[in-house]
């Protein structure tokens, strides 16, 4: 089957043909000009075009193994069944993607794989949410109710997304250098342990930094009372760190190459490293950072086509296949669906379907502090 590509890839290929000499300069410039003209003329009217027959839906996600799992198990079969193409793009983080959506025309971006209820709330507060017709998504019945309810609470009982998977940001460590016993003893404080100076890393995400600072200072991450102490912990971690990582690929590379011995990490990525044979341990400390991801439909999107795709993605066989590919447990309720053999072995998996063991970020609390803390972290990160 032909792989669908976004415009960037298309232009890159065109440029490559030109550079290879397969295309003369006049044709190359003509095609670029025509594409620019078509885009400029078409884009403002894209929202009206969405009312017509939908031939394509755009999806944006985290790339890597996550995108590969979705492409193979969800998008290609969906296109085969419905004739609707799914064009997938990637982003490195929710903040970066939000900037792109903010700069886009309505209807340009359709479905996003968002992380955390706080992101859902941010998109909603910026007027980017929609109202899904749940009758068109019958597979929503298989989803863990707790995961659905937290989204409903943000959008007045309605939904602009469907929950899709969940995971944790726990502690990942190289067993050659750090024993399981040491991890159990030190927990989150190992990230500010002088003994590992220069072999520590962390995600350059202000929420994660503050969450772990709360754990290191013995505070409730959803109600940090001594904020100054938390910032001191962030500074201590910074001073002992080799590097802040910015993507899942970089996280995996730093651990696999043994540049670092300990960091916090995304459960699915660490599982992938373990599957590759690296002796990397993973531990969720008490009150470790739990999160749930959703498939969010952005304002201006062709709703019925998006709902059809979401329903297809939530079908147990699709959802389980994607989960096994990306190593994050699906949002499906294990009390309603048989999840097979692999998923119960994934980190963060909750066999009860109640998710009581995971602590999720309170969206109101974290979004309320977002403006101040993201800015402060920008400074602390650079040595202030």
């Amino acid at each position: 089957m032909t792989k669908k590509m976004d415009n960037t890839t298309r232009y890159e290929r065109l440029r490559e043909r030109y550079m290879n000499g397969d295309l003369d300069r006049r044709s190359f410039l003509g095609l670029i000009g025509a594409a620019g003209l078509a885009y400029g003329v078409q884009t403002p009217f894209a929202k009206y075009a969405n009312a017509q027959t939908v031939a394509q839906v755009r999806f944006d996600g985290w790339g890597g193994v996550v995108s590969e799992a979705l492409r193979e198990n969800a998008f290609d079969p969906f296109t085969k069944e419905t004739g609707i193409d799914v064009v997938d793009g990637t982003f490195g983080g929710g903040d970066e993607y939000l900037s792109r959506v903010k700069a886009s025309q309505e209807g340009e971006y359709n479905i996003a794989h968002l992380s955390g209820v706080f992101d859902y709330a941010r998109y909603h507060n910026l007027g980017l949410s929609t109202v899904l017709n749940e009758d068109n998504i019958p597979n929503l019945q298989y989803v863990i109710p707790k995961l659905v309810d937290v989204f409903r609470n943000v959008t007045d009982g309605k939904l602009s997304c469907v929950p899709y998977d969940y995971g944790t940001t726990g502690l990942a460590y190289n067993r050659k250098h750090i024993s399981d016993e040491e991890m159990q003893e030190k927990g989150a404080r190992i990230l500010i342990d002088e003994a590992h100076k220069g072999k520590i890393a962390g995600w350059s995400d202000w929420r994660t930094r503050m969450w772990y600072a709360a754990l290191q200072t013995g505070q409730n991450p959803n109600n940090i009372e001594d904020v100054d102490a938390a910032w001191e912990a962030v500074r201590a971690h910074r001073d002992l760190s080799l590097k802040y990582w910015g993507s899942g690929a970089e996280l995996m590379s730093l651990l696999a190459e043994e540049e670092i011995h300990v960091t916090e990490g995304w459960s699915g990525r660490i599982y992938a490293l373990q599957e590759q044979g690296h002796d990397i341990g993973y531990m969720d400390p008490p009150n470790g950072f739990g999160w749930q991801e959703c498939m969010f439909v952005i304002k201006g999107s062709p709703m019925e086509a998006c709902e059809e795709l979401l329903n297809f993605m939530l079908a147990p066989e699709t959802s389980i296949a994607v989960a096994e590919g990306q190593n994050y447990p699906p949002a499906l309720d294990p009390n309603k669906v048989d999840l097979g053999d692999k998923i119960p072995t994934l980190p963060a998996f909750d066999p009860t379907g109640k998710l009581d063991g995971l602590t999720f970020a309170d969206p109101a609390y974290w979004n309320g502090n977002e403006q101040e803390w993201s800015k402060t972290f920008g400074r602390v990160q650079k040595g202030y």
Partner: protein
Amino acid sequence: MSVEAREARQPWILLSPALTAVALLLFVPLLFIVVYSFWLRTATGADEVGFFLDNWQEALTDAFYRDILLNTLKIAAITTLVCALMGYPAAYFIARSKGNKAILLLLLMLPFWISYIIRTMSWINILGVSGALNTALLSVGVIDEPIQMLYNETTVILGLVHFLLPFMVLNVFVSLDGIDTNLEDAANSLGATRWQAFTNVTLPLSLPGLAAGGLLCFVLGAGTYITPLVLGGPTDAMFANLVFEAIITQLNWPLGSALSLMLLVVLGALVLIYNRYLGMAQLMKGLG
């Protein structure tokens, strides 16, 4: 219309596509950025339209931005100096080589065929704990444990030199290539040693090229964003990283606009000073 009037209009007609492109793709977006810099970011991340001086006040009075800007200029200056010291002998060698000049120039251009990001990331495989250099040193017994060489200011400068050195070499080469070698011979025939001929004749005549290369290296180095991100440690951010964070991480486009204009003004001032004393012609020669 008279012939004179038609002839006077002709250059403008010929230039109009380029001028339109520059206006639409450079000045109009720049104008948007100027307008944006006076807006405000609200708590939800949405922008409040209006005329507010808050972003400019913050950008100009906050010591944080001043310090990072000074550090950025320092890194760019060191990079430029290293490029000049490494680039001049290379350019001299190419300019004075006979027969294989074209091949040497082609070799100089080769790195441009590989993505800048890939070139930057290649240092991880060279200097990393399990990289080529550590592996070689371990295998010959020079060290017992891998040395931590990555993720500091030195590796940022190294990455920048790797990126910018060809720009310096090309500019100096263009300048040296235009110097008549008979001048050095004349100096020698008048009793000057080869070193004296170089320092009194060749070097002064090649200074415009060195200055053009220096300007390019400095401006490109000061505006870089990828290198400190890939090769820098936690505290090795440069000013462009602040712009990125304001716009992408904090969704504060107005502040990001003010910061990017601030960098533009500082680097623009340097270009103006260069133009005042050396003119842009040499730079164009180097770029051409």
